[in-house]
């Protein structure tokens, strides 16, 4: 049987995502929107961890910086919707850039610990800098976005409002990882020394990918903050970082589109488990442990055709 081309499959997926809100009840549109911005946040992690080889617990910090700037500006400073969004995303890129200046000097475990430190700094900052962040309660009552004179507050409108930047983000990411930059990045992931010997500037590649990744995480943060109409320290906590890791890992950290599958699984598990029990975090945690132990390439890997292993005699 001839297999469909992968690009064709994605195009079909995109068409379905355009039609979906007209086919499902309102509550599911809500869940679908959540899947969209979560998968963008996870994709920013997959870019960094899967393609750049830099596992990060700081994505929630970038997510949070953008979310808080977006919330603060919409509530306190009236500069219009688009400038607020640009400012928020710029904020996360700059944070990412400053962080990257120090972080590119480290690698492996030390990098991971640096990201943990940044993530926690954001978390405690959100608590302690209460005049700006609203402290424990966070920023609430952020008004719905107004685009070209229309207020975006119905379920379908919010869905499309989220879909467009997410699809654009994914399209850009796919182009990025296939570009010479993306290929060099994957080379650096596999062997820093070899790429440096070939004349690639390893540090600049790492710097740029951290900035790109923080920018995308920032975009996801803006979408999420505008979706919930609020942001609180909980969204920047280590638990949130673990959630993001869960999403990336379940979908498969080696493939950008895995983020959609991961987000879908996460949102469904969270939604259904929270109906049955208060301990849905336990269920997600156990699920997470099982995935790490048995499906380290993500559960999407099950459906991929297996390559037959050559027996030693044949080789």
């Amino acid at each position: 049987m001839k297999r469909f081309s992968y690009g064709g499959l994605l195009a079909v997926g995109f068409l379905i995502s355009l039609l979906l809100p007209w086919l499902v009840p309102n509550f599911y549109i809500f869940l679908l929107t959540k899947i969209l911005f979560l998968s963008l946040a996870a994709a920013s992690l997959i870019l960094l961890a899967g393609y750049g080889g830099m596992l990060s617990l700081a994505q929630v910090a970038f997510y949070g910086v953008a979310g808080y700037i977006f919330g603060f500006c919409s509530l306190r400073i009236g500069i219009g919707f688009m400038p607020t969004v640009v400012l928020a995303i710029l904020g996360s890129s700059v944070t990412g850039g400053l962080f990257a200046l120090i972080a590119v000097r480290t690698s492996g475990l030390y990098f991971l610990m640096m990201t943990l430190a940044l993530g926690q700094l954001a978390f405690f900052g959100a608590f302690q800098w209460a005049e700006v962040t609203g402290g424990y309660d966070g920023l609430v009552g952020i008004p719905a976005p107004v685009l070209f004179g229309y207020t975006i507050n119905s379920g379908k409108a919010v869905y499309y409002f989220t879909l467009v930047p997410v699809v654009a983000g994914f399209y850009w990411l796919r182009r990025l990882v296939a570009s010479p930059f993306g290929l060099a990045l994957q080379g650096i992931r596999d062997s820093e020394v070899r790429m440096a010997a070939l004349g690639f500037n390893v540090k600049i590649h790492k710097f740029l990918v951290i900035v790109f990744s923080s920018t995308l995480a920032g975009l996801a943060g803006v979408l999420s903050t505008s979706f919930y109409g609020m942001i609180s320290p909980q969204m920047v906590s280590l638990a949130a970082a673990v959630t993001l890791l869960f999403i990336s890992l379940v979908g498969g950290i080696g493939r950008l589109e895995g983020a959609f599958i991961g987000a879908l699984v996460y949102v469904l598990v969270e939604d259904y488990a929270s109906v049955i029990t208060n301990r849905y975090n336990t269920i997600i945690g156990i699920f997470f442990i099982l995935v790490v132990l048995f499906f380290s390439k993500g559960i999407a890997d099950i459906f991929r055709p297996r390559k037959k292993k050559k027996s030693p005699q044949q080789a």
Binding site: L55, I102, R105, T106, G108, L109, Y110, L112, M113, M114, L116, A117, L118, Q120, L121, F124, G125, Q128, W129, S237, L238, A239, V242, L245, F246, L249, N278, R279, N281, T282, I284, G285, I286, F288, I289, V292, L293, S296
Partner: protein, 289 residues
């Protein structure tokens, strides 16, 4: 702000005793992460588990010393089970170790919340320690001095263990070259499991002692994990003296900034960490490898 000499001494002493608690809490982490390079993100949950187990034992028996011993032994056993059943499957793979232990911390944390609720709790230390001690120039809480003493003891014990005993030699050899060590006929897995249990024991001790020092609640595990990480990374991985230096730095920064600029404690801590790593990427006393 006008600070008298006595206040200054008080803040310094508070910092030093807090450093003792930090070193105690981080000692298990130094062994597992610093020496064996096993990324144990579930370290904090061991601490919190020890504190809560201590609470249960205290409610049943009313004896603090029994809490201390019982709960450390139980945590050591949990560490053994974790290492033997799960961690061994992913050994040597940093990424999967990180994710697995994060998942365990996440799950156990949620279960502890379900079982003990979200209210802050505190263990009551024996009256022996609640009497203030006169140090000549100031009166100081006895319990804090006890904490400092225990941490100095743990530090000396670990130093002697690593330096002079056969187990210590095996560990140092195994850390440097795992394959060669097992090739000369040493059961390196067993030695590492032993170290993991020892780390669990110390973390358990620090959980009960720390739980009598400051109140604990769900989320404290992450606090402990972060502070242990800062201590170990600041000092340099694999260096016991580094961990002590790291604990002292963090303790003093914490104590002084909490008195002078209470809102910015975390910024000072993380700022120091980032600065140190920017100029000495392997920590204060760490060696590049």
């Amino acid at each position: 702000m006008d600070i008298s000499l006595t206040t200054m001494m008080m803040i310094t002493l508070n910092g030093v005793t807090y450093a003792g608690l930090l070193f105690m809490a981080a000692s298990g982490f130094t062994l597992v992460f610093g020496l064996m390079r096993v990324v144990n993100m579930a370290h904090g949950i061991f601490y919190l588990m020890a504190a809560y187990l201590g609470l249960t034992i205290y409610r049943m028996t009313g004896n603090w010393w029994l809490c201390l011993i019982g709960s450390s032994l139980m945590v050591a056993f949990c560490a053994y089970v974790l290492q033997f059943t799960l961690l061994r499957k992913v050994q040597g793979d940093d990424l999967r170790e990180t994710l697995l232990t994060l998942g365990i911390g996440f799950t156990v944390g949620d279960l502890l919340l379900a079982f003990y609720g979200g209210m802050p709790q505190r263990l009551t230390a024996p009256t022996l320690f609640s009497t203030p001690v006169s140090l000549g120039f100031l009166i100081y809480p006895g319990f804090r001095l006890f904490v400092l003493g225990v941490s100095v003891f743990i530090g000396l014990f670990l130093w002697a263990l690593l330096k002079f005993t056969q187990l210590g030699r095996i560990i140092r050899a195994g850390v440097d070259d795992r394959e060669m060590t097992s090739a000369v006929g040493i059961n390196i897995d067993r030695a590492f499991t032993g170290v993991f249990m020892l780390a669990g024991l110390f973390t358990g001790l620090s959980g009960v002692i720390g739980g009598s020092y400051i109140a604990f609640a769900p989320g404290e595990d992450i606090h402990v994990l972060i502070y242990s990480l800062i201590v170990v990374i600041l000092g340099g991985l694999g260096s016991l003296g580094g961990a002590a230096l790291g604990a002292l730095t963090v303790g003093l920064i914490d104590s002084f900034s909490k008195t002078l600029f209470p809102a910015f404690t975390m910024f000072f801590l993380f700022g120091t960490l980032m600065l140190v790593l920017a100029f000495r990427p392997y920590g204060l006393l760490g060696k590049e490898r």
